[in-house]
């Protein structure tokens, strides 16, 4: 029953997408603009299909319908409800189902938002693109990633989700957030294709998709931060970012998307960088496909394993077709994409955005190269090598520092041309903020050139973001508007995002550079000192449950509260899964794991202790970035042409526009 409903839903979604795409194609080619209205109906049908399939799968999971292969492999009767619901996106087929649902949702949202403009050929082509992408994902579910495959002999109980995925409630929100971000970039991509096809490559489509891009970027940011929080809380190695291919796959579109959000401002303001912006959007969208291919096809285990899974071929083909079509369109419209403008001086806002883009592109290139290089190397030499964290740390550190520097300077630079005097005046207070951060870091004992430079530049960047917000607040007060205007709108909201980035960067640097790792073997009541904290092992207890067996150690930190790092043994896994226990602190976290359980009652245990300075600021900074993105979406105060702040004699005029 569930299988039937689910397959019907997928088939309905596919049919709606294919028919929608064909109808829009025919209507666009014959210039029957009234037919373009039909997009609305097809979008609703596709959403209905995706929703039906989604609900059928959730129903199957909740009612333990083990006749479905997906349920039998990813669910067990003893799985708690939250993880049962989250199991839908715990494995490949289900995550494609979630992807389709989110995409169908975005498609309907676009038809609603642009209802009045649906007969516009630009919208027609954009909707057509969305239907084609949607059709691809529905087709995946009828082909190589069918979530509704039926077992001839259903088992009495299933294997249950991967133990790592039923260990923390973040698993229920991290993937949906990530997908809302990933899939959201389909909207600006669709408009970019439409702009190329219709030849309306001006700034109109950018204006239309600005908010969609920001929303997607915000969701992607939240998804990535939650993902690293999950890995910190669950994986038990004391870190939060391992440069693992799965993490890199989500980070790559974030990097190109971030570059786009910045460079698009140059195009809006000066009509330049058109081809570059199109390429960034294309890169962002195709990197979501490529990332899914990398992480889902098994290609990373070895070049030779990927032919075993058909989904890899499908995703790689989709990636290839997307890149080829988009490059073809850009080449075809090459003549219209030339822009007459020019940039007067490298020391200007637009110059800074260009430098920012070169840096982000280089960052993305390093991450992409490092991720796929083992494959290239194996293909060339037949020898396996590893490209791991030390490589990424070393290569991205200088880029990160350069980005912090740009983040400090760019917001104070005026458009067109800056004189040195302007820079000297505007950067003075931010510079002192940077010096203060540096002195404070040295005073509390931070050592080493790279981290100290990062802290100093972090202070500088924070200073120039705060300066912008303060100026905007003053301008708002002068014109009698609410002071809240200081933090809304793209420019000011963006500064809040910058502050979030600074917080994350400082926390990342501190936690990476100054964490202390130790494993200590302790008999009950024995105490060890790690990184200035005392850790006392009190004993361990074993709790047997239906779903898992847990060995819990009791560990007292600094003579205060008792924490309980544990090892969990799930029936479907050979290795025990560690559950870390973390004492949060604004200055540093004390992160405990039970590395080796006591062999006999009252015996000694091996406790892993990581003291991680500033780690909790990573999540605070991530939250600040999310808040900033939301504020940037609020329409800012429009600048009245007569307002005194916009008169050319005020040096800060360009800083207060929203």
């Amino acid at each position: 029953m569930n299988a039937l409903l689910g397959t019907a839903g997928v088939a309905l979604g596919l049919a709606a997408c294919v028919l929608g795409a064909l109808t829009l194609l025919a209507a666009s080619l014959r210039h029957q603009s009234r037919q373009l209205r039909l997009a609305e109906g097809y979008a609703l049908l596709a959403l209905a299909g995706a929703l039906l399939a989604f609900l059928a799968m959730e129903h199957a999971l909740v009612t333990h319908d083990f006749s479905l292969k997906y349920v039998a492999q990813n669910h067990a009767r003893a799985t708690p409800l939250l993880y049962t619901i989250a199991s839908l996106w715990g494995a490949l087929e289900g995550s494609i189902l979630l992807w389709s649902l989110v995409l169908a949702g975005y498609t309907v949202a676009v038809t609603r938002r642009f209802r009045a403009r649906l007969t516009d050929p630009l919208l027609g082509w954009a909707m057509l693109t969305m239907f084609v992408v949607g059709g691809f994902f529905f087709a995946l579910m009828l082909g190589p990633a069918n979530p509704f495959r039926v077992l001839a002999h259903p088992p009495a109980d299933g294997a249950g989700p991967n133990p790592l995925l039923q260990n923390h409630p973040l698993m229920a929100i991290h993937p949906p957030m990530l997908y809302l971000g990933y899939v959201g970039f389909t909207v600006p991509f669709a408009f970019c294709v439409a702009a190329l096809v219709t030849g309306r490559v001006g700034e109109g489509w950018l204006e239309s998709t600005r908010r969609w891009t920001l929303v997607s970027w915000g969701f992607l940011t939240v998804g990535i931060v939650l993902g690293s929080w999950w890995s910190y809380e669950v994986l038990g190695w004391g870190g939060f970012w391992a440069w693992d291919p799965v993490e890199n796959a989500s980070f790559l579109p974030w990097l190109t998307g971030t570059a786009f959000i910045h460079s698009v401002m140059v195009q809006e303001r000066r009509g330049m960088l058109r081809v570059w912006n199109l390429s960034l959007l294309l890169a962002t969208f195709s990197l979501t496909l490529f990332g899914t291919f990398l992480t889902r096809s098994g290609v990373l285990d070895s070049v030779h394993s990927f032919t075993e899974s058909p989904i890899g071929t499908w995703l790689l083909s989709a990636f290839g077709v997307t890149v080829a079509v988009a490059l073809g369109l850009i080449a075809w419209r090459g003549d219209r994409l030339r822009s007459p403008g020019r940039i007067d001086s490298p020391v200007s806002r637009e110059g800074a955005f260009m430098a920012n883009n070169v840096l982000f592109a280089a960052f993305a290139f390093v991450v992409l190269l490092g991720t796929v290089f083992p494959l290239i190397h194996e293909a060339l030499t037949n020898e396996q090598i590893t490209v791991g964290r030390p490589y990424f740390d070393r290569m991205t550190m200088p880029i990160g520092i350069a980005l912090l520097f740009m983040m400090a300077v760019a917001p104070v630079l005026p458009w067109r041309k800056a004189s040195h005097g302007v820079l000297r005046e505007r950067l003075l207070w931010p510079a002192w903020a940077g010096v203060a951060a540096l002195v404070l870091a040295v005073a509390v004992g931070a050592r080493g050139l790279a981290p100290l430079v990062a802290f100093g530049l972090g202070g500088l960047a924070a200073g120039s973001a705060v300066r912008q917000v303060v100026l905007a607040g003053r301008a708002a007060r002068r014109s009698g508007a609410s002071v809240l205007n200081a933090v809304v709108g793209r420019t000011n909201g963006g500064m809040i995002v910058h502050l979030g980035v600074v917080v994350v960067a400082v926390a990342f640097t501190a936690a990476q550079s100054f964490s202390a790792h130790r494993e200590v073997r302790l008999a009950p009541q024995q105490t060890a000192r790690v990184g200035g904290h005392s850790v006392t092992y009190l004993g361990a207890e074993t709790i047997r449950g239906a779903q898992k067996t847990t060995i819990k150690a009791s560990v007292r930190i600094d003579g205060g509260r008792v924490y309980a790092p544990a090892l969990q043994q799930f029936p479907n896994a050979t290795n025990a899964i560690g559950t870390p226990s973390v004492r949060w602190g604004l200055r540093s976290d004390v992160y405990l794991t039970l590395a080796v359980a006591p062999q006999r009652a009252g015996g000694a245990a091996v406790i892993g202790v990581v003291v991680e300075p500033l780690a909790s600021w990573l999540w605070i900074g991530g939250g600040l970035m999310a808040v900033g993105t939301a504020l940037a979406l609020v329409p800012g105060r429009r600048r009245r042409p007569t307002a005194p702040v916009s008169s050319p004699s005020t040096p800060d005029a360009d800083l207060v526009d929203a």
């Binding site: 190695w237 190269l369 510079a431 010096v435 870091a441």
Partner: protein
């Protein structure tokens, strides 16, 4: 006055940097083991380092590194010994010679090309304006 404020900021920053980077205390044996283990893969895992992994194979590698640190070997000697035992892929950083060197060189070349491209664009704009 402003010039003076900038000068003061630079001087203070320089002094702080000098204090913050001249601290040359020798790392303890445990810190060295930690440091080396972070650059070596856990043989039983895919990308995790021997420092971060909880697997028994990683514990063996850590013990081996600790033994060699006690024996007075240098970081590079220890890494070479591990490569001899487990092969090139034990290192989390790819080799600098041969095809593996590409992964170090390509990003630098890409960045140089990118910056050169931007510089070229600005030059052209300046010539057009003149």
């Amino acid at each position: 006055m402003r010039r003076l404020a900038w000068l003061a900021a630079l001087v203070v920053a320089l002094i702080a940097l000098v204090i913050g980077t001249t601290d040359r205390s020798n790392p303890s044996a445990a810190e060295r083991v930690d440091h080396i283990a972070a650059t070596v893969r856990c043989p039983a895992c895919r990308g995790e380092s021997a420092r971060d992994s909880n697997a028994p194979a990683a514990a063996n590698v850590r013990a081996e590194i600790a033994r060699r640190v006690r024996a007075g070997q240098s970081d590079d000697q220890i890494r070479d010994a591990l490569v001899a035992a487990y092969g090139d892929s034990i290192l989390l950083t790819p080799p600098r010679s041969g095809w593996g060197g590409l992964v170090w060189v390509l990003p630098v070349m890409a960045l140089v090309c990118g910056l050169a491209g931007v510089a070229f664009a600005f030059r052209r704009w300046r010539v057009e304006a003149a």
